[in-house]
Symmetry: C2
Subunit: 134 residues, 2 copies
DNA sequence: CTTGACCCCGTACCATGGTACAGGGTGTAT
DNA sequence: ATACACCCTGTACCATGGTACGGGGTCAAG
C-alpha cells in the first residue's frame, strides 16, 4: 500500500511542507495521485528525503543534492558524464573529509591542553588550521 | 602595519560587507580604529574569516562557528565546559566524516558500475546509504 | 452522518547569510 | 588641489530553504 505525504514526512523527520517544496523545486519526482488527488509515495521517497537532509548537513546545497540524485547509470547513455560528475563530487567529499579531520585534530589539541592544565596561548582551533589552503 | 578591511576581505576571499556583517553579528571582535574611524585588523582576522568559511562549507551554521571560535582555554576558568563543548563538536565531526565516507563509497560504486558497463538497477547513491541512521 | 485527522492548492511569511546602494569622509599620487 | 580608490554608516534588498496560513475536500471511526 502506498504512503501518504504525511507518512513520508514523519518517517524522514521533516515537515509535510518540506516535501511539497522539494517537489515544486523538482528535487523529488511528482508521485502518482489517488482519484482524490492524494500523493502516493513508495519507501523510496523516504530514502530520498533522508539523503537530502543528510547531504545538506554536510554542506551541500539542494542544487548539488539534485545533481547527485540525478546521477545514475542509464543504459547506453552519457556514462562519461556520470563518471565525470561523480568524480568531481568525490573530490569535493575528500576535501571535506580532510578539513573535518583537521578540525577534529584542533579540538583534540584543545581538550588535551585543558586536561593537562597547561595554558595554551592563542586559539588552538585557528592555530591548527593555520596554513591550509584557502 | 595594520590591515584594512579591504585587505582582509581580499586575503580571505570574501566581500568587505561580509566582514562587517560578521562583526555586527558578534562573530569577529570589533577591531581598533584609526583616528579617521578605519578598522585596523591583524593577520588573525584573515585566519578567523577563513575558518568561518571553511566551517560553513562543512555544514556548520555561523552560530555553531561562533561557539567553536569562543572555545579556548582561559586560565583558571571553565575548563570543564570547554572540554564538554569540544567533545560534543568532535562527535558531530565524526558523524559528518562517517556520512561523507558513505557518500564517497556510493559514488565509487556508481563509477565502477559505469566503468564495467554493467546495468545497475536503482540509484546506487540511495542504495549505498540504505539503512543508515536517520 | 458528523467529527477529527489528514490531504489539496495558493500565497504569504520567515530565518540565515549575506549583498548592494546612497550619501559622505579619507589618503595618496600627480 | 583634484582625482581615484578606498573607508564609514545606515538601510534596503536578495537567494536559499523552508514554514505557516486560509479556504476547502477526503476518509475512517463512532
Amino acid at each position: 500500500m502506498a504512503l501518504t505525504i504525511g507518512q513520508v514526512a514523519k518517517a524522514a523527520h521533516v515537515n509535510v511542507e518540506t516535501i511539497r517544496y522539494y517537489e515544486r523545486e523538482g528535487l523529488i519526482p511528482s508521485p502518482p495521485r489517488t482519484s482524490a488527488g492524494y500523493r502516493q509515495y513508495t519507501e523510496d521517497a523516504i530514502r530520498r528525503v533522508r539523503f537530502m537532509k543528510r547531504a545538506q548537513r554536510l554542506g551541500f546545497t539542494l542544487e548539488e543534492v539534485g545533481i547527485l540524485l540525478r546521477l545514475r547509470v542509464r543504459r547506453g547513455s552519457a556514462c562519461h558524464d556520470v563518471v565525470a560528475e561523480a568524480t568531481k563530487a568525490m573530490e569535493r567529499i575528500d576535501g571535506k573529509i580532510d578539513e573535518l579531520h583537521r578540525m577534529r585534530e584542533a579540538l583534540a589539541t584543545l581538550v588535551d591542553g585543558c586536561r593537562d592544565r597547561r595554558a595554551l596561548r592563542g586559539c588552538p582551533i585557528l592555530d591548527a588550521l593555520e596554513g591550509t589552503n584557502a
